[in-house]
């Protein structure tokens, strides 16, 4: 456990050292302030567009940080051969993967937390605000989302090059966001063997669409039941564990 934590700390330090986070933070701040200062035909307390655009940007920025940090971990270490001294005892390959995963999740979650805090402060200034229960739910969902994204990005870089890994991570994300609803509708409508096969596909793909609560936040919908939140958390833990297990197995077999 200690080895995993030491490896994770390096990744968190990279977040502070690299400029990505600061650039995204300034961009988000400028965007939110400019949105806040907009006046639409003298209408007061118009706020849903701020919640909508603001959340979309913070989600995207956190996602980019998670993907780029997760994807860079392995190829850079393998190419520069710095992985070899690291893998000297007592750090195993499993420790290495788990440490990098934990580091990426903590780094992207830290960035997400700061972005989210800024977002909540700005959205509470103007308009109807957001219900506290929904604020908490969206935050937890965000952390779960970043965990899943980090695990999948690490796995992809074990099979692909750095740039291909990043690209495929983005393609998977947007494909799922765009088509998951349609796929679910098809899964629900089919019966028999067709239903079984479609259900298998449905269970295999990572459900990024579960985590994005932008519509709920922007349009002040009610929070969903606690059992759904628990279900999504369990789903994230299971899916992430499976992905990390595959990553560890792959790295164990990989010739360095």
């Amino acid at each position: 456990m200690r080895q995993i934590w030491i490896l994770a700390q390096n990744t968190i330090k990279a977040l502070i050292r690299k400029k990505d986070f600061y650039v995204f933070f300034i961009m988000l701040l400028v965007l939110l302030v400019s949105l806040l200062s907009e006046n639409f035909f003298g209408a007061r307390n118009v706020s849903r567009y701020i919640k909508d655009i603001g959340f979309f940007c913070l989600w995207l920025f956190s996602f980019i940080i998670a993907v780029t940090f997760a994807s860079k971990q392995l190829p850079e270490e393998i190419d520069s051969k710095t992985i070899l001294p690291l893998l000297a005892k007592p750090v195993t390959r499993t420790h290495f993967i788990l440490g990098r995963f934990l580091g990426t999740v903590l780094a992207s979650s830290s960035a997400y937390t700061i972005f989210y805090f800024l977002y909540i402060v700005v959205t509470s200034i103007k308009g109807e605000g957001i219900a506290f229960s929904l604020v908490i739910q969206a935050y937890i969902m965000g952390i779960c989302f970043l965990s899943l994204v980090s695990a999948i990005s690490i796995l992809l870089t074990l099979y692909l090059t750095l740039s291909a890994g990043i690209t495929v991570s983005f393609v998977i994300y947007f494909a799922i966001i765009w088509f998951a609803d349609k796929l679910r509708a098809i899964v629900i409508s089919r019966t028999g063997i067709e239903s079984v096969l479609l259900n298998i596909v449905y269970y295999v793909i990572p459900h990024y669409e579960f985590y994005d609560l932008r519509v709920r936040l922007a349009h002040s919908w009610e929070a969903f039941p606690l059992w759904v939140l628990s279900g999504v958390i369990v789903y994230t833990i299971l899916y992430t564990s499976v992905v990390l297990y595959i990553s560890c197995s792959k790295l164990k077999k990989k010739f360095l």
Partner: protein, 279 residues
């Protein structure tokens, strides 16, 4: 030292070249846009080109989406089908719609939990904004016109919400006048401007002026029979205010030609025929 000097010479030459080249490029750009009739201060045109039209349409759709509480119209289409089949508005009854969904969900849960969770997270309840909430759609209509000043629908719809639903007729008029600068030949904008004067401002003289302008611009090519009906009805009502029954009758006859089965129009024609032609 030598390399630094060379670099400085390169940078200096580049700056000098740009200094002389920039006005030439700017001059070319000015002539190009002037020929196309695009305003020079149009920042979105400079950065996005014609893609801005797609973003403008998206922004317009987004306004509609906001009016439906962030839900795409898919469910509304389902409702429309139900409405056609039974002749009544099932969507108005949110609970019934929701119960139907729940029935569907209970059958899903028997098979699989994950699609069930997905359905619960996804909001599908049909709703419309009411009262002051309606103003939430305004940013998207505003952005739609900023992205594409030729988006007439955005001007017309936006001014309807500003003027008639949120009761800000002066803002609506300002918005429509801005639309006319970019679309001087739009009968739709003149009609809407007339409607704001007619309905909200009760300034029938200005309303008539704008309806007549629209009447002069409307053709078979740039309109459908519903658009014509709206304009003719308002124009007829404006003439009626000024007692010009002859013109009122002429317009109602035109509406009847478009909608021969319309009994309300038939009745109006009969009632106006019994009146003296000028009051």
């Amino acid at each position: 030292m030598y390399r630094k000097g060379i670099s400085l010479i390169y940078i200096g030459s580049l700056i000098t070249l740009l200094f002389f080249l920039t006005p030439a490029i700017d001059n070319y750009r000015y002539n190009f846009f002037s020929k196309k009739g695009v305003a020079q201060e149009d920042m979105f045109y400079k950065t996005l080109g014609d893609i801005r039209k797609i973003f403008s349409d998206y922004s317009y759709i987004k306004a509609d989406l906001y009016f439906h509480g962030g839900i795409y119209k898919k469910d509304e289409k389902e409702c429309a089908k139900t409405e056609d089949a039974h002749g009544e508005d099932k969507c108005a009854d949110d609970n019934e719609h929701f119960h139907k969904k729940n029935d569907k969900l209970s059958s899903v849960s028997k098979i699989s939990i994950l699609p069930y969770i997905g359905e619960i997270i996804r909001i599908s309840k049909h709703m419309h904004l009411h009262g002051k909430e309606e103003q939430e759609i305004l940013p998207w209509l505003y952005y739609s016109t900023r992205l594409n000043p030729e988006n007439i629908d955005a001007y017309v719809t936006g001014s309807y919400w500003i003027g008639q639903r949120l009761n800000k007729p002066d803002e609506a008029i300002k918005f429509l006048r801005e639309g006319l600068i970019h679309n001087p030949g739009s009968w739709e904008i003149y009609t809407q401007l007339g409607e704001v004067y007619f309905v909200n401002k009760k300034d029938y003289k200005k309303a008539l002026f704008n309806f007549e302008k629209a009447y002069g611009l409307i053709t078979d090519k740039n309109s459908d029979k519903f658009g014509k009906r709206e304009l003719y009805s308002f124009l007829a009502a404006s003439y009626e205010n000024f007692g010009d029954i002859e013109k009122v009758l002429e317009l109602y006859r035109k509406i009847l030609a478009l909608f021969p089965q319309d009994k309300a129009v038939q009745k109006k024609i009969i009632s106006f025929q019994s009146r003296p032609l000028s009051q």
